[in-house]
């Protein structure tokens, strides 16, 4: 039990290194247009892409060890899949369903595990508090977890978010220096 509480069980330095590598690589692959556009839309799009790159990098470093990282990666993949088929509405709906079915395979185990725990939570008043539901919305992939797992996931998520924030911050600093 104590092993699962210590988040990711990764050395934080290693986490940061890996995250930095992947993040910079992803940023490289992003728009290389040197045009200095002050267009709001473009900047907004770029920033959302950067944000997605950051989350992807972070989640891929953690990998499938944690539910939140799996959920983040799945959401991103699903989103890109949906985006690529944006031409046909029907197709898009179908892919959403397909995406769900396909992703069910690797979520099925998780869900079945959680369903087992859910029944025990029926008499727990703490679960239905709006705070906990808020937390569930914030932490990705935590909607169907029991309270104990939720708190563990939150702890891990907070650690990784903090590391991510630090590294993004230092990245911005690098850009500022230049």
């Amino acid at each position: 039990m104590s092993g699962s509480k210590h988040p990711t069980s990764i050395n934080p330095t290693y986490l940061k290194n890996q995250f930095a590598h992947r993040f910079v690589r992803a940023l490289k692959n992003l728009n290389h247009t040197a045009t200095q556009t002050h267009d709001h839309n473009q900047i907004y799009k770029r920033s959302s892409r950067i944000k997605i790159a950051a989350y992807t990098a972070m989640a891929s470093v953690v990998g499938s060890r944690r539910t939140w990282s799996r959920a983040v990666l799945w959401k991103i993949r699903n989103r890109s899949r949906n985006r690529s088929r944006i031409q046909g509405l029907l197709l898009r709906k179908r892919t959403r369903v397909d995406g769900k079915i396909i992703s069910c395979h690797h979520h099925a185990k998780i869900m079945s595990l959680k369903r087992r725990n859910l029944k025990r939570d029926d008499f727990n008043p703490f679960r239905n508090s709006c705070q906990e539901s808020k937390l569930r919305k914030l932490v990705p992939g935590a909607e169907t977890m029991d309270s104990w797992c939720l708190i563990g996931e939150t702890a891990d998520y907070i650690k990784c978010l903090a590391a991510q924030g630090c590294l993004c911050y230092s990245h911005v600093n690098v850009f500022v220096v230049m």
């Binding site: 930095a20 709001h40 900047i43 914030l138 911050y169 990245h171 500022v176």
Partner: protein, 329 residues
Amino acid sequence: MNTVSPEMLQRHYTTVNITGNDTVTGGNDVSVFERQQARMKWHQQQQLGGLVEIKPDPGLQYGWPDFSDPCQDQMIPPLMADHNLKKRKSTLEDQNQKVNLKDNIVKEKKIKGCSDENSTETSSKAKVTEVPKQEYIHVRARRGQATDSHSLAERVRREKISERMKYLQDLVPGCNKITGKAGMLDEIINYVQCLQKQVEFLSMKLATLQPRLDFDIDNLIMKEMMEVPAVGYSSELANSSYFQVNSLLEMGNNTIDTMLKRSIGGPVSIPETVVVSSYFNQMQPAGVTWDGDLHNLYRMETQQESSSIPFQPHKFTGSYEESNLKMEL
């Protein structure tokens, strides 16, 4: 002292029950249950040998607290328990056996854990006093509660959750004073929201800065970012940016500080005017401005939950609000 008869003890219990003391609600059942528990332990914890016999008679503990402090009772059981245990064994066997069996098993896990911890103690006297203390706490915690397996499992679960909440308390800055679960959850929710907003803000900043750069410096970026962990930039820095002053963060203060001040206060100006030199290698004793700013931000955000983020750059008023919703991925 050595010949405490069961009748005396039972009389004691009845008197306690009659007085209607709160601590003895469920009196007989509980006391009997605890005796049962002690007996089960005596059977199953053979590793402790004599120690088990000396394990306190919980019934005694229940009988006495209404007169004195619980802490004072710890020495009494060892003196009397073994005799009482044997004498009352016969009276217990027919009582509440099935109901308490599961509970005993659940509790024994804990008490075994306690006894494992105690087995490292050197003196047996220390063991004797240690075990009853922990046992007493366990037993006491369940006082007045139903003794069925459901509630016990519930309690075990709650304790696990509270253990993790304590761990979270260390992670989230500024949670040391808050004790309740609700307050803690509020802080955690706030903190997660702030971290997510921070990432969004930083990505926005990067989006404005990035196209201006020559992409030959990618290697330089990697070098700089690799230096960060080498200098010991730990993940706690995000926390420290709220409340503590960290040396590395001070270095960054002068750079991001002016940028943020502008973005917080007024129109954003692309930081062409910010001049910094090798901040990673310098130890600058800077002020607490960055921390103060972020602290204010944190406070402001706790007050307003809307998307009107103070550090929102004026340029992106509209678009930032959209992007400021929770992770919309």
